[in-house]
């Protein structure tokens, strides 16, 4: 038996064993191991199980203008259906990014709801950076986003579940006194303007 054969057998059987062991998320060891898998080399094969996502996670944003008025909510990366995506689906990764980021943001905001500061996490910063970079009104002083869940087609006018609302974030280059900070309950009442 050659050295190549032994090396190949040892490497690949180890990889298979590690893949098998890391499928169960409840063990501390597997979480530790996956935490160190920076390149997502060890696959997770559970595919939509045991609990699949049964709603569309969506992110909406709005902006506050210099006069304190607030724009309507707009959606970033709205989900798109259709047969064409079976062959060509360039927005797949960005939409999956929203699906992955949304629940983490919601969880962190729920956990730190008593803090006056927005919970800083990678998913939060990813969405915030995107929202801040979107083309909008030149008089925009601050932007805010919300994570919502919907089920069914938009034409069906189904319920929109508001999962969390971010704080207002100043746009780059805007001074802090330019920002009108509405009370949180008022901001939440305005959620009725969400398209759905």
């Amino acid at each position: 038996m050659s050295g190549w054969t032994i090396a190949s057998a040892v490497t690949f059987s180890t990889l298979l064993a590690v893949t098998t062991v890391t499928q169960a998320r409840r063990f501390r060891f597997t979480r530790w191991l996956k935490g160190r898998d920076a390149c997502a080399y060890i696959p997770r094969w559970t595919f939509f199980a045991p609990t699949p996502l049964v709603s569309d996670i969506r992110v909406l944003w709005r902006e506050q203008l210099t006069d304190g008025s607030v724009s309507p909510w707009r959606e970033i990366l709205p989900p798109i259906g259709g047969l064409r995506r079976a062959v060509w689906n360039p927005g797949r990764r960005a939409r999956k990014g929203i699906i992955d980021c949304g629940p983490v943001i919601v969880r962190l905001m729920a956990r730190e709801s008593t803090s006056p500061l927005s919970p800083i996490s990678l998913p939060y910063l990813m969405v915030l950076q995107h929202v801040a970079g979107l083309p909008g009104c030149t008089l925009s002083v601050a932007r805010q986003f919300t994570v919502v869940a919907t089920q069914g087609a938009d034409e069906d006018d189904g319920p929109v579940h508001i999962l969390c609302v971010s704080d207002w974030h100043r746009q780059p280059g805007v001074s802090s006194d330019a920002l009108h900070r509405p009370d949180r309950p008022e901001a939440d009442r305005e959620m009725s303007g969400i398209p759905g």
């Binding site: 997502a40 199980a49 045991p50 609990t51 049964v54 709603s55 798109i80 960005a94 950076q129 995107h130």
Partner: protein
């Protein structure tokens, strides 16, 4: 069955999948810029080594927009080499094809390291196939090459078995409500079909159970050798094309399709064991 021959059959759908994925990355390049969801300024904060480690400047050079597009372009060039080798089947192209697989593996791992969120099972199977192909095409010795291809087949069977078991223990999958819920989303379903399934819960339950049985059964079917592998491949091709059509997961048919020649090789070996 010659391992190189089998590896080149695997390389054909794999190269197509890599090409589609890399072109999609380039088409949605604005998402990788600083105003995009995957802008590097935000992403770097998720990994301390990208902010202050000794390799931070090197990573920044590769990962900042527009340099990061080089990872997509490198994959396109490597996929072209692999595709050419798979079509022409000349012995001189075996080694370049092996290096092409390494380039794809390296570029994808760097992209996954950079982006870390937004990956799916198709992306993960791409790494499995790239690893197996690189070893099968580059290292000497038939046995070692066969082991590399068996690894691809074993990961395929493991993926089906784990996905099936995870669904089998789930009450929402056993009751049929999982497929109704998934189909009712726009991202991974067709809401009208979801509504149809809600009106026909028996059909929803039957669909859920057929997925569970097929996924769990794959690891058993392979014990029948080549006929078992053909049954798995037939069901798998139908399943992944349906998933691509209905759920928009367009990388799955290519990445999972690339594993099927390796599954036939493994089935052939199992078949010889029974004789």
């Amino acid at each position: 069955m010659d391992p190189h021959d089998v590896a080149l059959w695997c390389a054909l759908p794999f190269a197509i999948g890599v090409t589609v994925d890399a072109l999609e990355l380039l088409a949605e390049r604005s998402q990788l810029g600083d105003g995009g969801l995957y802008g590097y300024s935000a992403l770097a904060t998720g990994r301390p080594s990208l902010v202050s480690g000794p390799l931070a400047p090197s990573f920044a050079r590769v990962f900042r927009y527009p340099h990061v597009l080089g990872l997509g372009i490198a994959q396109l060039i490597a996929a072209a080499v692999l595709f050419t080798a798979a079509i022409i089947r000349s012995p001189e192209l075996i080694v370049p094809a092996g290096f092409a697989a390494i380039v794809i593996l390296g570029a994808r791992m760097l992209l996954y390291f950079r982006n870390c969120l937004g990956l799916d099972g198709g992306d993960q199977m791409m790494l499995v196939v790239a690893s197996g192909l690189a070893v099968a095409l580059l290292i000497p010795g038939r046995v070692a090459q066969t082991i590399a291809l068996d690894y691809i087949a074993a990961q395929l069977l493991l993926s089906y078995a784990i996905a099936g078991a995870a669904k089998a223990i789930s009450p929402v999958w056993r009751s049929g409500s999982a497929i109704i819920g998934i189909m009712s989303t726009i991202n991974f379903g067709v809401p009208r079909f979801g509504g149809f399934l809600r009106d026909h819960p028996r059909l929803a339950r039957a669909l859920c159970w057929s997925v569970i049985v097929c996924e769990c059964g794959a690891a058993i079917a392979i014990l029948a050798g080549t006929p078992g592998a053909i049954a798995i491949i037939t069901a798998g091709v139908l399943f992944h094309i349906t998933v691509a059509l209905v759920m928009g997961l367009n990388l799955f048919p290519w990445s999972f399709g690339a594993t099927y020649p390796a599954l036939l090789l493994l089935a052939h070996s199992i078949g010889t064991l029974w004789r």
